[in-house]
């Protein structure tokens, strides 16, 4: 056999193959060991497959354990916290990992995905289950309990609710599937439209509209299109502040025609309408304004939060936060730190973007104070509470408008020492329920937040 003869080309070929294979293993080993190829969250990180794992601790912002693994079981500490947080927690990785809209999908290490299997104890016992690391949330367990009680006391079935800090983007409390369920925003979209209009043309702040019967027919490319104010009210000659306070539909439809659709849609994209936005700590169902429609009447109807205008409660809360925070939208965050054996490392996710001009945001904020002072929000007034109410009619499956409504209140405290905002959305309610009911719930929750802070 030629093979054993040294210096023969076949020996050299084999040596070369062995060397190349070894080199590729070595290069891989070096790159894997020094961690230079480690990257932050991505789809790859979200891949989870450990069949045997023990869930790490999920703690609230104060270190109270909310949820933890006991062996293979997961145990909630408090049933009321469970009832309010469960829809977005994502305990079942198989289901939650496909989207990033649950809490645990964004901190997969809790499932033991980062458990190092090269530890001696594991090498000796390869069948031991993977141990999850801990996570600390920005959510307040005490507030969560209060929210659950308040929602239960209110008697409404379908409640979505978000409380956050508009200066940091931290989510403090929530209820329901605020990430994925979308609703017509109704009149709560008006502050966003007003802020966008003022960003396009600051002079529109003095725009006056005469809310009279004859002025409710709006010209479109397919002929006149009629949009009434609620219950056929006529507000008379009305400025922007009063249009927000009393929620005049005609004013905003007319305003939309003033700015023109191209400029307006471009502004709205900054807020996240009709585009795709990713945040470091989660993704949610993006909001839409015009959607795929190009019809004038859909554009005008979207101006009063109907037609293709759809938004998640978290999306509405973030837009409200931007208005309260001088047009600066902070990245929403709900995970603050990752813990291993009691040592905590902060989880990055900070960042912000300007969605409208500072002047516009501050002007709109003042107008929203008028809502609780004299407008549609008088019944849930609270000092310094800038808010906006909204009612949207739900369309039935056939597309025609149904009896059921979605009612909203979104707003926050203008005092920057208490930078809290709250968004409440009650879905599938009868027309006897008004946005003021959502407002009262919102006010009660804000009081809870302030009480918790005072303690």
């Amino acid at each position: 056999m030629i093979f054993y003869r040294k210096k023969h080309y076949r020996v050299r070929v084999l040596t070369a193959f062995a060397a190349a294979l070894l080199a590729s293993l070595l290069l891989f080993g070096l790159r894997a060991a020094d961690g230079s190829c480690q990257t932050p969250m991505s789809v790859g990180q979200v891949i989870l497959s450990a069949k045997e794992y023990s869930l790490g601790q999920v703690q609230d912002r104060n270190g109270t354990v909310v949820l933890q693994g006991k062996g293979k079981e997961t145990v909630w500490t408090d049933p009321q916290v469970r009832s309010s947080l469960e829809p977005v927690m994502g305990e079942d990785p198989e289901r939650s990992m496909l989207s990033r809209s649950t809490i645990l999908a964004n901190c997969p290490w809790v499932f033991g995905t980062e458990d190092n299997r090269f530890r001696l104890s594991v090498l000796l016992n390869p069948f031991s289950s993977r141990k999850g690391e801990d996570v600390r949330l920005t959510i307040d367990a005490g507030l969560q309990t209060g929210i659950a009680q308040a929602v239960e006391a209110s008697g409404f079935d379908k409640v979505c609710l978000v409380v956050s800090n508009y200066k940091t983007g931290e989510i403090l409390g929530l209820y329901g599937n605020i990430m994925q369920d979308t609703f017509h925003p109704g009149s709560t979209i008006k502050p966003i439209l007003a802020a966008s209009a003022l960003s396009i043309d600051p002079d529109l702040a003095s725009y006056i509209y005469n809310c009279a019967d004859k002025n409710h027919n709006f010209s479109t490319s397919s002929g006149p299109f009629r949009i009434n104010c609620i219950d056929g009210t006529e507000h008379g000659s009305i400025n922007m502040t009063d249009a927000i306070a009393y929620s005049c539909n005609g004013y905003f439809v007319s305003l939309l025609q003033q700015t023109g659709s191209t400029a307006m849609l471009k502004e709205l994209e900054k807020w996240g309408f009709d585009t795709v936005v990713h945040y470091p700590q989660f993704s949610y169902t993006d909001h839409s304004f015009l959607g795929s429609s190009r019809q004038d009447c859909d554009y005008l109807l979207a101006g009063i939060g109907q037609a293709n205008a759809k938004i998640t409660p978290i999306g509405m809360n973030m837009c409200t936060n931007a208005i309260l925070n001088h047009g600066q939208m902070e990245n929403p965050r709900w995970i603050s730190a990752r813990g291993r054996d009691g040592r905590w490392t902060a989880v990055d996710g900070e960042g912000s973007r300007q969605v409208c001009s500072r002047e516009a945001a501050d002007q709109i904020c003042k107008m929203m104070l008028a809502v609780t002072e004299k407008g549609t929000g008088r019944s849930f007034a609270l000092p310094g509470f800038a808010a906006k109410t909204g009612t949207a009619q739900k369309s039935s499956e056939s597309g025609s408008l149904s009896e059921k409504c979605t009612v909203w209140t979104t707003g926050g405290l203008t005092d920057e020492k208490m930078p809290y905002s709250v968004t409440v959305c009650l879905d599938d309610v009868k027309s006897t329920t008004t946005s003021a009911d959502a407002g009262r719930l919102a006010r009660d929750i804000l009081k809870l937040v302030l009480k918790g802070e005072a303690q």
Partner: protein, 412 residues
């Protein structure tokens, strides 16, 4: 000795795989079992037929790879469990075994494979297949991959060794004028042939094939060519072409970026999706550990090529680092076995055998290195472990060629 070890290994793998994933239908398990028996039967026949037992070590290693392929196929069977045997690995296995015995007998007992016309037809046929694929087949994932229902990669694996061996083993005593020592005409012809082949591959966007054929042809050239200046010239022009394609062809450029800076590639928007599979092992080797995560743990929805181009990732993640290491060690033994040849065979046979061994070697090397992120990502499967019927059948032809040559009598 290797035979009983193989039986124990394949039975163990079978039980492990079957107990890891349960399907509602008994079909996948039945197909896996049937495939296992077929391999065993073929191995037994060769064990009895091969007097010198020279072919056995390599065949056992090939059987190890095939039974891993069966396990991988079972693991990814999912809902596509099919009654049509031609759609599943076991069906491929039947064709592989039949083809193996036919080719083995032809090579061992006849000399028809040395007939000039057949070799010329193989060479011409390959060019036809590559250019024909561009004209006839539909785009799949940005490339034209099929001709006559068979992947051009498979056509190339089959035809290239014969063509290369034919061209390179022509006698050198007649030269096209000029310096006879710097570039013999047989090498020149081969280079010309490879260049025409490459042009076709570029048209089809089949860069994996260019890589494998290019590497193989380069080694053949370096072994055959005796002039240093020509070697230098060849190296420089190859390096130049590589740099040019890395810079100009977006496809290659992307892969270059991923290879050099995988983490940065994951952060960039255009490359993120493509870098994922490379980065997977970097991120998750620690969690897979020595013992793996268990069969069936990586969801195929994320990386659709886990049973083909990225089968090494599956092996390390699911089947354990130990098994993957074993596979690589066996691969080296396999290449060594492929390179071994009895003394006294003619030049054509020797080059045919060398080309076969080089092809296997580069397939294994490029697949492994690109799965580990140590080399450009290339869409190349691991012989027999990856699914891919036409390529696996053609590889079996090459295996049979080597087995046949091992049994051939030396020309006196």
């Amino acid at each position: 000795m290797s035979f009983p070890i193989y039986v124990i290994y394949s039975a163990g793998l079978f039980l492990w795989t079957i107990s890891s994933i349960h399907y509602d239908s008994p079909l996948p398990a039945a197909q896996y079992g049937l495939g296992q028996l077929l391999i065993l039967a073929a191995l037994t026949i060769m064990f009895m037929a091969d007097k010198g037992k020279k072919a056995i070590p390599g065949l056992v290693i090939a059987a190890v790879f095939c039974s891993l392929g069966l396990s991988i196929a079972y693991r990814f069977a999912g809902e596509k469990a099919s009654i049509q045997l031609e759609d599943v690995y076991t069906g491929d296995l039947i064709s592989m075994i039949v083809v193996f015995f036919i080719v083995y007998l032809l090579i061992r007992f006849t000399n028809i494979y040395r007939i000039k016309l057949i070799n010329l037809l193989a060479g011409g046929g390959l060019l036809l297949a590559v250019y024909g694929a561009r004209l006839t087949s539909a785009l799949t994932g940005g490339s034209y991959l099929y001709f006559g229902g068979i992947m051009i990669f498979g056509w190339a694996l089959l035809a290239f060794p014969f063509t290369a061996a034919f061209l390179i083993s022509r006698r050198e005593d007649s030269y096209v004028r000029g310096n006879v020592r710097s570039l013999p005409w047989n090498l020149m012809l081969m280079l010309l042939y490879v260049i025409i082949l490459f042009a076709g591959c570029v048209l089809c966007n089949e860069f994996g094939l260019i890589l494998i054929i290019g590497l193989t042809a380069t080694v053949l050239f370096f072994i055959r060519c005796r002039n240093l200046l020509t070697k230098c010239f060849y190296t420089i022009s190859c390096a130049g072409a590589a740099v040019l394609s890395a810079m100009k062809v977006p496809h290659v450029h992307d892969r270059m970026q991923i290879w050099l800076h995988p983490a940065a590639a994951a952060g960039s928007e255009d490359l993120a999706g493509k870098a994922e599979s490379v980065l997977y092992l970097f991120r998750h080797l620690g969690q897979a550990g020595l013992w793996g995560r268990g069969i069936g743990s990586l969801p195929v929805s994320y990386y659709p090529t886990l049973n083909t181009d990225h089968v090494m990732v599956t092996l390390i993640n699911d089947y354990s680092l130990i098994l993957a290491g074993l596979v690589l060690a066996l691969s080296l033994f396999f290449i060594r076995w492929l390179l071994t040849l009895p003394d006294g065979l003619c030049g054509y046979d020797r080059y045919l055998n060398l080309t076969t061994a080089l092809l296997f070697g580069f397939l294994i090397l490029v697949h492994t290195a690109s799965n580990l992120g140590s080399f450009l990502t290339a869409g190349i499967g691991f012989p027999w472990i990856s699914e891919g019927s036409s390529v696996n059948i053609m590889l079996t032809v090459l295996l049979a060629v080597h087995c046949g040559l091992l049994g051939k009598k030396a020309i006196s």
